[in-house]
């Protein structure tokens, strides 16, 4: 063994021994060992260089914008943009007392909840069926996965065409059945159309995870259930589904995130938030108020509310992932 590497090794051992002492100086400064490889390098400047691109991009496109949104939410800018007055929580009280914002919040809650559970139910049904069949499984999987490749905006275009009141083939069928379908005028039709497009696009995501989760249930447990006389449906409900519960919890969180933040393209293509604000979700409203109405104070306050929701969901998501790691067999 060359002398230099032996020295380097003993140096590493010494650091590990010295570590508890250095911790007292302040864990931030000394860098704790959490998530550090036991065998590591000690070249601070090289590390700084490797981290620099990531940190610079985050500084300019994450921290500064976030800071701006936070600070703008507590000030009032005069129409000429010359002065800023600190107004405390005024922007928020105005926001929460505005009936439009409340309508949008209620609508978003409805839309995301319905979208979340319908998507999950449909995906669960498909995944159960996929788990049961032998023949043609790969083909079914391939086809059902396909919408993952399709952008929300394109899903919007496809469904906007299918249910277009003048040319859409499905709208014509509804017309013949005696229902005067018109998403451009009737709010409930518009909301239904947006929901269908959103669900159609997202079932594949839940499906991928559920198929993997159902497949991970050990065959021995299923066989034990079969020997005890449980039929396929009973086995699914009392064995497979509970064992997949962490995945399902994770998917509920992810579905809410999708419904809240990623349905922008669908709404923008199909309805533009109309008619009469019936599909104006919180994210679409930030865009409308900020870029169409140019009401920056209100839109910054709305951004902050959305940030709070996003942080909440991220925490839930981490919880879900932890549970997945802990309980999955």
């Amino acid at each position: 063994m060359p002398a230099s590497s032996a020295m380097r090794l003993s140096e590493g051992a010494a650091t590990r021994l010295r570590f508890p002492l250095r911790l007292k100086l302040g864990s931030l400064l000394s860098s704790s060992e959490t998530g550090l490889k036991a065998s590591h390098f000690r070249r601070p400047w090289l590390a700084a260089g490797l981290l620099a691109p990531q940190l610079l991009i985050l500084l300019f496109f994450f921290f500064i914008p976030t800071w701006k949104a936070l600070s703008l939410a507590f000030v009032q800018v005069d129409p000429f943009g010359a002065t800023m007055i600190f107004v405390g929580l005024d922007n928020f009280t105005t926001l929460f007392s505005s009936p439009e914002y409340r309508d949008s919040a209620v609508l978003t809650l409805w839309f995301t909840t319905v979208q979340c559970f319908v998507t999950l139910f449909v995906a669960c049904l498909f995944a159960f069926a996929t788990d049961q069949v032998m023949r043609g499984r790969a083909i079914y999987k391939g086809v059902i996965l396909l919408p993952y490749a399709i952008a929300p905006a394109i899903s919007g275009v496809l469904w906007a065409f299918l249910f277009n009141p003048t040319v859409g083939p499905l709208a014509q069928i509804l017309d013949e059945l005696g229902y005067a379908w018109d998403p451009n005028r009737r709010p409930s039709d518009a909301l239904l159309l947006v929901s269908v497009a959103a669900i159609w696009k997202h079932v594949c995501y839940d499906y991928i995870f559920l198929v993997a989760a159902f497949l991970a249930v050990p065959a021995s447990v299923i066989e034990a259930g079969a020997i005890d006389g449980a039929g396929p449906v009973r086995r699914f409900l009392t064995i497979t589904l509970p064992m997949a519960a962490p995945t399902i919890f994770f998917l509920i969180v992810m579905n809410f995130v999708y419904g809240l933040f990623e349905t922008f393209g669908i709404i923008d293509v199909i309805t533009h938030g109309g008619p009469a604000g019936s599909t104006n979700t919180l994210v679409y409203k930030v865009y409308q108020d900020g870029f169409r109405q140019l009401d920056l104070g209100s839109s910054a306050a709305q951004s902050v509310v959305l940030m709070a929701i996003a942080v909440l969901f991220t925490v839930l998501q981490f919880r879900a992932v932890e549970r997945k790691v802990n309980y999955q067999v």
């Binding site: 230099s4 601070p44 981290l51 940190l55 394109i154 066989e223 396929p232 900020g290």
Partner: protein, 306 residues
């Protein structure tokens, strides 16, 4: 092996057939519409079999929307996002797992806090940041007096040099979408599972950190990189909100925005045949990726949420 029920099996096939049909129905009607003429597309009832104008409509839509240029834009932006994000995050992940340095935990938390906020909630402030990327630097140099100092001593106008408007630029379309730590987090998780002996052995053989990274860690991560680049490709190609905000000139549109412009508005001629034909070539690249690389894609997706 457990027993099989013929009826259950049948039921499951029916369910899956319905599912497959529900996926294909909109695509089939889009294909039919894309193969008709403008007169045929408006007839009632809507035709159930495709016409023979699909190629013609595709060419018309491609020309009308100048999709040659938009496709190129989409490719540049998508490749920029995939390569940029992978490069930035693999070295950042390497730094936080394999290096011991002051403020390591601070750097760690600065990076991982960005997992909290998706770009959609920062729409307006990020727009400002991209419209005026030099702004923070200007106010910083102004505050420390460098701007005034340079102007009075050398006559150099620092403020003017720091006017970076990234609207309608590839940088503006790419950089904000790279500003999230999801991939860094993924690489960190993977590096933590790499056996310590590899690094010890590399050190014994006298390899420095960069050599270890290039010759040991990167080859080990190749399958992770492949799976992640597929997910990032789909993410980049399917972007809608960002290009919508950051492009005002038609030359800088992406294919997705070009498609949006082809959708007939209420009072115009209902040229749905062109929009539908165009939607096929806009969704073709990600669809091909999913069909041809299904295994990698499923793996990347399930992995990237861990």
């Amino acid at each position: 092996m457990v027993e099989r029920h013929i009826w259950l099996s049948l039921f499951c096939h029916v369910v899956l057939l319905i599912g497959a049909a529900a996926v294909c129905l909109p695509l089939y009607f889009a294909f039919v519409a894309g193969s008709l003429t403008v007169g045929e597309v408006q007839q009632v009832p809507f035709p159930l079999v495709p016409g023979d104008h699909f190629v013609e409509n595709t060419v018309t839509a491609w020309m009308e929307g100048d999709f040659g240029r938009l496709y190129l834009n989409s490719i540049i932006v998508t490749v920029g996002i995939v390569v940029g994000k992978l490069a930035v995050s693999v070295i950042a992940g390497f730094a936080v797992t394999y290096f011991r340095f002051p403020f390591r935990m601070t750097a760690f938390w600065l990076i991982f806090i960005s997992l909290m906020l998706p770009v959609e909630v920062r729409i307006i402030p990020t727009y400002e940041a991209v419209a005026d990327a030099g702004g923070p630097l200007r106010s910083f140099f102004g505050a420390i007096g460098l701007t005034g100092f340079l102007a009075s001593t050398t006559g150099y106008q620092l403020d003017a040099a720091l006017q970076w408007n990234m609207i309608n630029s590839y940088g503006g379309l790419i950089l904000p979408l790279i500003a999230s730590a999801s991939a860094t987090f993924l690489f960190r998780q993977f590096f933590l599972t790499v056996p310590d002996e590899l690094c010890e052995a590399a050190k014994l053989d006298g390899a420095g950190p960069l050599k270890f990274f290039r010759d040991v860690l990167l080859p080990l991560s190749s399958s992770n990189i492949a799976a992640l680049s597929i997910i990032l490709f789909l993410y980049g190609w399917n972007q809608y909100l960002w290009p919508l905000l950051f492009t005002t000139e038609k030359e800088m549109y992406t294919a997705m925005i070009g498609l949006k412009d082809l959708i007939p508005v209420a009072d115009a001629q209902p040229a749905w045949h062109l929009a539908m034909a165009a939607s096929f070539f806009v969704m073709a690249p990600p669809a091909l990726v999913i069909l041809l690389m299904q295994r990698w894609f499923t793996r990347g997706l399930v992995d990237s949420s861990k």
